[in-house]
């Protein structure tokens, strides 16, 4: 990239008069339309912010509410005050950038230091609640509570007539509360003002939802819950676990085992047995220590990292080599119909990448694929299921995907090299190969080096190709995490975090941080090489 001729984008310091003139010009030019659009836009932003604030305050998320207020005030201040032109143009993009790129990267950093994942994705209070809920058993001699199912604003409540005749209402996580003004029918409460009583048909329709409701009898969860099997009578259920809030321990009332919070994010018995779900805690460097010290994770991590570098490097090298070769072949003015070859050859680049990978996966299928059945006459070559063949196939498909780009780029760069240089070298007696090797190639590399580096960075995280073609497979069965022979770092992060029953966000984020550090290394090298920093004025 050459710098454009330096243009002075306006005086750096303006005199007071010039400023005043600018202001008058601005005020005179915009017209009412721009003002109207501005007010409308800000109105929409403010309306959304106020709605958000309302919801946030109701759910008592004070920190987020404070942030919303601060950002909204800032936006209004920027757009309603005079001047601050740069801020006016930068603010919209920066807000998105701050939340969805910078914040999330920092947040990954935080998650890497937690045990967030399956079984550890909530607070301790939530974990206690769901443990008590999941271990409920019906009390053998439970009295029969007569029950009417009520609905208000989509939320279901139980109207309960207790054996002693008193009437109470409650719902999920809302303990029973006595009410006075219920409508009675034969000593059983059947309705309450402000609520709709559900009939038999409605109850059938919401059967699963109603069956999942358990209403705490009192504020103390150890007192038990009311649940209904049929929507007309409820029974008392107590948990076989008992939570001792003062000591912070769970006791199994059947076996008498005590599970205590030993700081691992789950109640654990003395014998080391964990009660799940647990809760999210900060674990310090545990995830990184696991990644580097547990053999079943360290092995795959190292081989995946090596393969990621090898894959990215070889992809850039092969595509560049083929692209350059084709650019030289077709860079001859005597050759006819180059235009048509060119159009056909950029087709792979225009075809959406994820579809190409899926199509190639079909063609390389071991039993039915085109390559084995037609081209190789029925040979069952395991293109995608043998570790080394799969790696080769990935490079081959990436060559198909990537050579058009390199072809286009190097053609452009070759044509930008002045003819005179070739002529001068010819006059000096250089052979064609020498001209290419000592004149054209160095010049070419200078202009395409930044593109090669960005192509490397792209392939470093080329998730789609790997995931769609081989799914990272063949799976490495000895590994402690879900990872295969062709997985690159980013697909390993995805699989550890989102594929399979056991999701480990903490470990996945730790891997992501490792990628971050590697990419930062590449970035530093590329900045040094391209000197792009010097172009900034």
């Amino acid at each position: 990239m050459t710098t454009p001729p330096e243009t002075d984008p306006g005086p750096i310091r303006q005199s007071a008069r010039a400023k005043r003139a600018t202001r008058i010009a601005d005020a005179a030019s915009g017209g009412w339309k721009i003002v109207a659009i501005k007010i409308l836009g800000l109105g929409v932003v403010d309306a959304i912010a106020i709605y958000a604030l309302f919801v946030l305050v109701r759910s008592e998320s004070w920190l987020v509410a404070g942030l919303v207020v601060a950002v909204t005030l800032l936006v209004n201040w920027i757009y309603f005050s005079r001047g601050k032109l740069p801020a006016k143009y930068l603010a919209p993009g920066l807000i998105f950038l701050a939340i969805f790129q910078i914040f999330v990267l920092l947040y990954s950093g935080y998650i890497a230091f937690t045990n967030y994942g399956t079984g550890h994705n909530s607070t301790k209070a939530d974990a206690v609640n769901s443990l008590l809920l999941s271990s409920q058993n019906r009390v053998a001699d439970s009295p029969n509570y007569r029950l009417t199912v009520l609905e208000q604003l989509g939320e279901i409540s139980f109207l309960v007539t207790e054996p002693d005749g008193s009437v109470s209402i409650g719902g999920n996580e809302r303990p029973l509360k006595e009410v006075q003004n219920a409508q009675l029918e034969g000593g059983v409460a059947v309705g309450l003002d402000g609520y709709t009583s559900l009939g038999f048909q409605d109850i059938l329709g919401k059967q699963t939802e109603i069956a999942a409701i358990s209403v705490p009898l009192t504020d103390d969860p150890n007192d038990g819950m009311l649940r209904t099997p049929d929507g007309s009578s409820a029974f008392l259920y107590t948990s076989s676990l008992e939570y001792d809030e003062a000591a912070g321990t769970m006791r199994d009332t059947n076996s008498g085992t005590v599970y205590s919070d030993i700081g691992t994010g789950a109640f654990t018995s003395d014998a080391g047995q964990e009660l799940l779900p647990g809760w999210k805690i900060e674990v310090g460097l545990d995830n990184f220590v696991r990644a580097f010290s547990e053999d079943s994770i360290r092995g795959p991590l190292i081989s995946v990292t090596v393969w990621t570098f090898a894959f990215a490097f070889l992809s850039v090298f092969t595509t560049f080599a083929l692209g350059l070769f084709l650019a030289i072949v077709f860079n001859d003015k005597r050759m006819k119909s180059r235009k048509y070859y060119r159009i056909i050859m950029i087709l792979p680049y225009a075809f959406p990448g994820f579809l190409s990978a899926l199509v190639w996966a079909g063609m390389m299928n071991q039993e039915f694929g085109f390559i084995n059945v037609v081209l190789l006459g029925g040979a069952e070559v395991p293109w995608l299921t043998n570790e080394w063949l799969a790696k080769g196939s990935i490079l081959f498909v990436n060559l198909w995907l990537g050579f058009p780009y390199m072809f286009l780029v190097t053609t452009g760069a070759l044509q930008a090299i002045p003819e005179e240089l070739t002529e001068a070298a010819t006059v000096d007696g250089a052979k064609p190969w020498a001209i290419f090797r000592f004149v054209k190639l160095p010049l070419l590399l200078v202009s395409v080096a930044p593109l090669l580096i960005s192509s490397f960075a792209f392939n470093f995280n080329n998730f789609n190709l790997i995931y769609m073609l081989t799914n990272g497979g063949p799976r490495d069965v000895s590994a402690g995490v879900n990872v295969g022979a062709t997985d690159i770092l980013i697909s390993m992060v995805y699989k550890v975090a989102f594929v399979g029953a056991n999701r480990d966000y903490g470990l996945a984020s730790a891997f992501a941080i490792i990628i971050f550090i590697l990419v930062a290394g590449i970035a530093i090298i590329s900045f040094r090489r391209t000197k792009s920093l010097e172009e900034l004025n």
Binding site: T2, G10, S29, F96, Q101, S108, I346, P404, F463, L533
Partner: protein
């Protein structure tokens, strides 16, 4: 390399093509000079185009599996294309619409946000400008998909409070994509904005135009080529984005083509190959059309520093 030189070069080459030619060379000399180039050209064309022909032929073979797809062009029927739209389990029409919608809105938003920022960086001098540009250069090295876990958790946190923009919401996904808007494209646009002489701005200013009018009515028109490139690249990028779309969009009705077709293939790989092929052909048409029509612009934009 600026975008303009890149654009013109292929043209010049094509024109000279017509003028230069030696039809009466003896075959041996012809082959040594250009003939072998045609052989390579034909071989490469087959290599490049074959998978596309294969998938097109598979799509014309209704009820076909991976095995029957091997006999190329043995059948010629558009039934698979009809079937594609009559599968309640795989709502292809919805995927297609979602992809166009999400890709369209994100790329428009990306172009707009990027152009605003590039204008500020190119035309104004303010404290933090250099640092800002440096930061953008750095940020563009770290793709959003590195933070995919955090994005998922952030959106699931948001959806507890605002389900409309949280998980399983297309608006949420578009917002995530817009978060990457500045990082990837501003630098590219900044370079192009710099090539527009600022004397144009000054002339307009003297004529009484304010900054907003200068930006919207003058500058944006002059930089239209780079807007087209950034818009198209971002459209292509979003339509084939899989990682974030697959964790954000849960309902089949809300998914994009990338997510939907991947699941389609992984569920019934070889059985409904013909229907998948039809889906792939249809999905590729809009992107490929845009690509081939805007080819010259894209080549210019690519060499200015971005990759697919």
């Amino acid at each position: 390399m600026t975008a303009t030189t890149q654009k013109q070069n292929p043209d010049a080459a094509v024109r000279s093509d017509v003028v230069v030619g030696h039809p009466k060379r003896p075959f041996k000399r012809y082959f040594r000079e250009t003939g072998w180039r045609h052989l390579i050209g034909i071989a490469m064309s087959i290599f490049a185009a074959f998978p596309l022909l294969y998938v097109f032929s598979a799509s014309l073979n209704p009820g076909g599996t991976l095995v029957t797809a091997n006999s190329l062009f043995s059948n010629f029927s558009f039934e698979s294309y009809v079937d594609l739209f009559n599968r309640p389990q795989q709502p292809y029409a919805a995927w297609f619409g979602n992809t166009l919608l999400i890709g369209g809105i994100s790329s428009l938003g990306t172009v707009f946000l990027g152009a605003l920022a590039a204008y500020a960086f190119s035309r104004m001098r303010f404290i933090g400008r250099r640092v800002g540009l440096l930061t953008l250069l750095l940020v563009q090295m770290f793709p959003q998909l590195l933070a995919v876990v955090a994005i998922f958790l952030l959106l699931s946190g948001i959806s507890e409070i605002f389900p409309a923009i949280g998980l399983n919401s297309q608006i949420g996904l578009i917002m995530v994509y817009l978060g990457g808007a500045l990082g990837v494209n501003t630098y590219l646009m900044y370079g192009f904005f710099n090539t527009v002489p600022s004397s144009i701005d000054e002339a307009a200013k003297i004529d009484g135009a304010g900054h907003a009018r200068i930006f919207f009515t003058i500058i944006l028109r002059l930089v239209a080529p780079i807007l087209a490139v950034v818009g198209l690249l971002s459209f292509v990028g979003t339509t084939s984005e899989f990682v974030i779309a697959s964790i954000v969009l849960i309902d089949p009705d809300k998914q994009t083509l990338a997510v939907g077709l991947y699941q389609f293939v992984s569920q019934e790989f070889s059985r409904n190959w013909s229907i998948f092929a039809a889906g792939a052909v249809l999905a590729a048409i809009p992107v490929m059309t845009l690509f081939l029509f805007l080819q010259k612009y894209i080549v210019g934009g690519l060499t200015a520093g971005s990759v697919k």
